[in-house]
């Protein structure tokens, strides 16, 4: 900590106060959702008048919440396929561009990261128009294709950061000892960049699970997705099961965060 002169105290206090508000604003809503999910009230009253597990019971009821379960399974399946494809594409591309100083590599990196800043809603609409122009009906595979485009940049960033740290001498000595490129990849490169690959896989999985703009245009009755279903439940009649579903999602996110942070230092990777 810096030592503060008396004249600096007001500014330091102001910064500290704003930081405290910032922390409260960041974490508060998550805690409020958790508490609300146990409410005995039919309305979203806060603080809840009493606590019950009723909404969780309704949420996990196989017949009454069948639509939510189907949407959740669809979302998980799409996210798993998306993560596998995005991570594979991003790992290969990262090995090609992260260590090259050539102009094409900088250009390719910029192009590969472009989906990050592009408004998702414009891209979602573009995929709908593109696939209907190709006369392709909405399907699981089209959702995966759209999600993978959005998810790949997340994987590319974490794998790229790992690949940039590879020592070229290691790769050269592996090759000069007669190892094939594939063997060099399996035995030398992959073990070294595995934390980045795992973090990338995780982030692309989460990006797909949370995707709204592509699912908004490409999901259909047969391929209902969880965020779209929950949005429908929030927009129409007030349904406290949304709170229970949110509670489950927060708990899963927290568990995954702790596990991934222990395994690959996820938090450090996300902070650049």
């Amino acid at each position: 900590m810096m030592r503060l002169a008396a004249r600096d105290r007001p500014l330091a206090l102001l910064i500290l106060a704003l930081a405290a508000i910032g922390l409260l604003v960041l974490a508060g809503p998550v805690l409020i959702v958790l508490l609300t999910s146990f409410t005995t009230s039919q309305a979203l009253r806060f603080p809840p008048p009493g606590l019950t597990l009723r909404w969780y019971a309704e949420l996990f009821d196989a017949t009454r919440s069948a639509q939510i379960h189907r949407a959740a399974l669809n979302s998980l399946a799409v996210a798993a396929c998306t993560a596998a494809i995005a991570t594979a594409l991003a790992t290969a591309a990262a090995l090609a561009i992260s260590r090259s100083r050539a102009t094409w590599a900088r250009f390719a990196e910029g192009a590969f990261l472009a989906p990050l800043v592009l408004p998702g809603i414009a891209y979602g609409l573009a995929t709908l128009m593109f696939f209907s122009w190709l006369r392709l009906p909405p399907s699981f595979l089209l959702l995966v294709a759209g999600h993978a485009i959005i998810a790949t940049p997340f994987a590319l960033r974490t794998v790229g950061a790992s690949a940039a740290g590879l020592d070229p001498a290691l790769l050269e000595s592996s090759a000069s000892l007669g190892a094939s490129p594939w063997r060099t990849f399996r035995r030398v490169i992959l073990p070294l960049i595995l934390p980045g690959v795992a973090a990338g896989g995780f982030l692309s999985f989460v990006s797909s699970l949370d995707n709204v703009p592509v699912s908004l245009f490409l999901s259909s009755a047969g391929t209902d997705m969880l965020p779209i279903r929950l949005w429908g439940m929030m927009e129409s009649a007030l349904d406290v099961r949304v709170a229970a579903a949110s509670g489950v999602l927060v708990a899963v996110a927290f568990l995954l965060l702790v596990v991934m942070d222990r395994a690959v230092g996820l938090v450090r990777r996300m902070a650049g």
Binding site: M2, F112, A114, V117, I121, L125, A126, A271
Partner: protein, 274 residues
């Protein structure tokens, strides 16, 4: 990895070409089409977007929402990043967790949280009523201030994480040196910290602006129907009215404005580094 390493970028290049570039080109073509076979073209959809005061108003609303979200997230994220810079390892970890956890919880969940907070019987109204500051509930849902408050939390990680990364590169002894030389805290922040933090600040601003301007779910659930923002209009024209040329022209307008702001901010960042 020898000379042929570039080939490894080909699969992603092909995927982006077929599933990213091609759809965007078709989107652009659709905005000029008059029928689905692209037999004739017109600029009617563009005239409807850029020549109509309602649509133009929605464009400006959307840009203003993005700008206000950037300012609001900055107000809280900058102090939080400064605290992270000087904090001990325990507090550092707490700040990072608080920044990352919202990013991993679905945007639908974060939006839902703000319905609970801003509603008539929500956290804010309960607090205001019980302390006697107001005598009847204040309308916060379906208002722009309510939406900006919600976006401040929903988008803050996008501002906070690049800032923390930028400030982490500052050597703490620089700060001690600055104050030992008699500079006030304000002067140290302005002359030493700000120039080094600027790239992170501008990167965060770009991400927050792009995300807030296109946050369809938050805009439609918290902002409600009375506030017209581009993403909701795009969705309506595409999925309810089925006027695809107009939807495409509005989507491209949104895209153009976001990319223009991103380009301006990255030019600023380059200028600041030079």
């Amino acid at each position: 990895m020898g000379e042929g390493a570039w080939k490894l970028a080909v699969p992603l290049g092909l995927a982006q070409f077929s599933f990213f570039l091609a759809p965007l080109l078709l989107l652009a073509a659709t905005s000029f089409a008059t029928d689905e076979n692209f037999s004739q073209f017109s600029v009617q959809a563009w005239l409807d977007v850029l020549g109509d005061s309602f649509h133009l108003g929605a464009v400006l609303n959307t840009l203003r929402l993005g700008a206000l979200a950037v300012l609001a997230t900055m107000l809280l994220a900058v102090p939080l990043a400064l605290l992270h810079m000087v904090a001990g390892p325990g507090l550092k970890k707490i700040i990072l967790l608080a920044a990352v956890l919202p990013l991993l919880t679905s945007v639908v969940v974060r939006t839902f949280a703000w319905i609970v907070i801003l509603g008539r019987e929500g956290v804010i109204n309960t607090a205001l009523l019980s302390t006697g500051i107001v005598s009847s509930p204040v309308a916060l849902l379906q208002t722009e201030p309510g939406l900006i408050l919600a976006l401040t939390q929903i988008e803050m990680p996008l501002m906070l994480l690049p800032l923390i990364a930028a400030l982490a590169r500052i050597d703490p002894s620089l700060l001690d040196a600055s104050s030992a030389l008699g500079a006030s805290l304000f002067r140290t922040l302005r002359k030493v910290v700000l120039p080094l933090a600027l790239p992170g600040l501008l990167a965060g601003a770009t991400l927050v602006f792009a995300s807030a301007a296109t946050a369809f779910i938050s805009q439609s659930v918290i902002g409600g129907g009375r506030l017209a923002y581009l993403p909701a209009l795009v969705w309506q024209q595409a999925m309810v009215v089925f006027n695809w040329p107009l939807a495409a022209a509005m989507a491209l307008t949104l895209m153009g404005s976001v990319l223009a702001v991103a380009a301006a901010l990255s030019a600023l960042a380059r200028g600041a580094q030079a």
